[in-house]
Symmetry: C2
Subunit: 106 residues, 2 copies
DNA sequence: TGCTTATATGTCAGTTTTGACATATTATTA
DNA sequence: TAATAATATGTCAAAACTGACATATAAGCA
């Protein structure tokens, strides 16, 4: 994994292991993170396309503005379940979700 | 939603609301459940294609046989995160995951 | 510039998900 | 048939995730 990418992930709060095994992020771990970041991005785009504020989306899915912010920031404390439920609440179809997931993140 | 399908879901342990609003499962809720069941199925197929037992898979992902069984049974206590991580551990690519998700469940 | 709205970040108690365990049920094979 | 392997089901303490809140920072506009 490239140094730049690792930095990006670490800045978002992902713990990629101790300093000694920073370079050992497995392909599966990387794919999993990629996948969540793709969902994050997709969520942000969908919300903005609807001219909706984070607070409005929070109301829609009975969550809070801060959690929406964390979702869109790719915070590791957010589950895929919540990301997907949010996308669906914004009108995404299963195929839309699939497309978001298949998209490579960089 | 069809009666037969609802029964199927309820038999797996999904709580689809009280008797009065059994028919009001929203499209989003339905899509979310469908999506998880598709991942379940995909996981089971992948594992079996590799001639791997649930115990072996459990070891591989540092989980337990009982949790694998729950994943494959579509138990509502299992997160999408765990399902996806497991698929990736079995060698699925992001595209494979996307395909599983896009697949309609019945 | 100040004012307002939107987004980001940190914390935390309540809830959900977790691996592990015991044990039941169902194949599979001798 | 018995014995063994595989899968299913129920429970629980620990770990992870959650909405909510406070508050910081940023963006837009008068």
């Amino acid at each position: 994994m490239k140094q730049a990418k690792r930095k990006k992930l670490e800045s978002r709060g992902w713990k990629i292991g101790s300093t000694t095994d920073l370079l050992k992020l497995t392909a599966e771990e990387e794919a999993y993170i990629d996948l969540k970041l793709s969902l994050s991005e997709s969520l942000k785009n969908r919300r903005q396309d609807k001219n909706m504020s984070q607070s409005e989306l929070a109301r829609l899915i009975q969550s809070s503005q801060s959690r929406i912010a964390k979702m869109e920031a790719g915070d590791p404390s957010v589950s895929m379940d919540l990301l997907v439920k949010s996308l669906l609440a914004l009108g995404a179809s299963k195929k839309d979700v699939a497309k978001a997931i298949a998209a490579s993140s960089d």
